[in-house]
Symmetry: C2
């Protein structure tokens, strides 16, 4: 086997066949992939179900970091985006853009990690593509994953469902992923519990939907952090999203790192968290379902939805511990480039 990626691995010829057989099929060969046609043929959803479809490219740097790697991120990120619609994630495609010279050993580790995350989420990698760019025109490996899920009949989630009076939950501590990447990149050393939270949350979402069938919507607060998520929700719902700073779970080590670096943890990226808006009378049930799920032990009720002030428009707001309320701004530019 070759030890580094070469341009010929993207050629459509026999070298490409070799990398497909020895790296990709080795990690996650299924019936559809092995069939060798240009498109995977998939069974349709059951009657009454609809299709959820979402795509994400991953360019995180570095590729390996405490608690995960670009492969785990690439599977979990798309699984979570598909699952936010209430869908059961079923199938993933995977497109690699590799840079000439990248170690095959690293690529194998990444593929093994993808296979592991896919197995945990219960999704199958059914179709793929590999391109190779010349040295100096990429950054080792970029991965696109695109996912298909099936939405059960009767489930219809989305930011537009949010109503004043609804409650806002988060499935765990914020800021872990962004601070992990930052500390790797700058060779800073925080405490040992600073590691990525990257995780597939489809099972947690399914548990919440079973316990709280009137749930309005889910969104994973990735780039831009929970600030972006709450601002998007406010705009979709034309309502204010108001959270209490004291009730937002943050690990002390992450809070300390944010303070030192001058970051607002509300704007730091997460890769294994869900923000969830639920009807007030189902909030306790939803919270209990989260807390009894894997990855949901630190879930918390963090706020509520209010009528917006028409003269000001819809806003995300945070109540500070000293009793004030400030606007939670969307990140303007870039705080931590390439965190996913």
């Amino acid at each position: 086997m070759d030890t580094t990626v070469m341009l010929g691995h993207g050629s459509g010829g026999s070298m490409m066949k070799r990398i497909i057989d020895e790296v990709f099929f080795e990690a996650y060969a299924g019936e559809e992939l092995l069939r060798g046609d240009d498109a995977a043929v998939l069974a349709p959803p059951a009657p009454g179900e609809r299709i959820a479809f979402s795509t994400d490219s991953f360019v995180v740097s570095p590729h390996f970091f405490p608690g995960g790697d670009i492969g785990r991120l690439a599977v979990c990120g798309t699984v979570n985006d598909v699952a936010t619609s209430g869908a059961v994630p079923k199938y993933l495609s995977c497109g690699f853009v590799l840079e000439e010279g990248y170690p095959i050993e690293n690529l194998k580790r990444i593929c093994a990690s993808m296979a592991e995350a896919a197995a945990e989420a219960g999704v199958r990698l059914v179709t793929g593509d590999t391109k190779v760019v010349n040295r100096g025109h990429g950054d080792g490996v970029f991965i696109n994953t695109t996912g298909i899920g099936f939405i059960p009949a009767g489930v219809s989630l989305g930011g537009a469902n949010i109503r004043p009076g609804d409650r806002i939950l988060v499935s765990g501590t914020l800021g872990d992923h962004g601070i992990t990447i930052m500390s790797c990149r700058e060779s800073l050393s925080f405490s040992a519990d600073v590691k990525t939270d990257a995780a597939p949350l489809n099972h947690l979402i399914a548990a919440v939907l079973a316990a709280a069938p009137n749930t309005r919507c889910f969104r994973d607060p990735t780039r831009g952090g929970i600030s972006s998520t709450l601002n998007e929700f406010a705009s979709q719902a034309q309502a204010d999203m108001v959270i209490d700073q004291d009730s937002v779970p943050v690990k002390p080590s992450v809070a300390g790192a944010c303070e030192m670096l001058g970051y607002d943890v509300m704007q730091v990226a997460n890769e294994g968290k869900m923000v969830c808006v639920v009807a007030a009378d189902e909030a306790e049930a939803a919270l209990a379902a989260m807390r009894s799920s894997r990855y949901g032990a630190d879930a918390a009720l963090i706020g509520e939805v209010r009528e917006m002030k028409p003269e000001r428009g819809p806003k995300a707001l945070i109540r500070t511990p000293i009793g004030g309320t400030r606007i939670l701004d969307m990140l303007v530019g870039e705080q931590l480039p390439r965190i996913c």
Copy 2:
């Protein structure tokens, strides 16, 4: 509006919202995209239909070339891969990996070209993602498109259906795309009719299937050219794929360029051609359907499928004008990197 891509355009914050609104929504806003949730929700296929799913990343260099650009390629490539299954292509996702400093003007041209190709193919861009990498770690723009199509009941295409006695058709002249990219890159000047053939071929495929319902399979001879396609078919079918060199349509200008550059046109990439294997008694009907389709005027019957010699295994073979037969080898390494 900003004039170049900045890291903040990939931030998940308000700069990202701006590039989405002003570039992507401007080019191809549909109901699902505008809804603003993380996953597009799509109507399921009709009863009896199955789902076709295919992904492709595009890293072609340069981004603009005679007859097309990376955007047209990105839509047509995935539409064609989905269509090879016999599916009606319906939905595309689109993931951009942009390099800091890339001109927004170019990105707008690319998006307009994607919108035009999507309209011609009858597919909709329903979900997307944008990442930005720092200067020197990408190459302006890479695009992943992933497609969903619905396969009508009763249609089941694939290389494994091929039988000895079947006929091999190609939908037009070979080598146009690869020679176009080569001539741009090396600033060679061939005749004015050397331009990419990039085109959506789903309507051509539908016409062939209507005229020749026992069609075995389609494949678009992209990277690796028709040599790779015929070798893949031979291996899937466990049969020999035998073509006549004289019957393969090649433009004189492309043939001349190949001769000058030392390329085998059978290994040069195409982006708007289909190889099709049909039952012998439907070959004429399939050929007539191709020829009456847009993009199929130069279609030709180029060969047939034969029993393989067990001691030699399945091969792709070409009969030369002087009466010999040689093995049509799969490209080993890379002839023209980054042609798609």
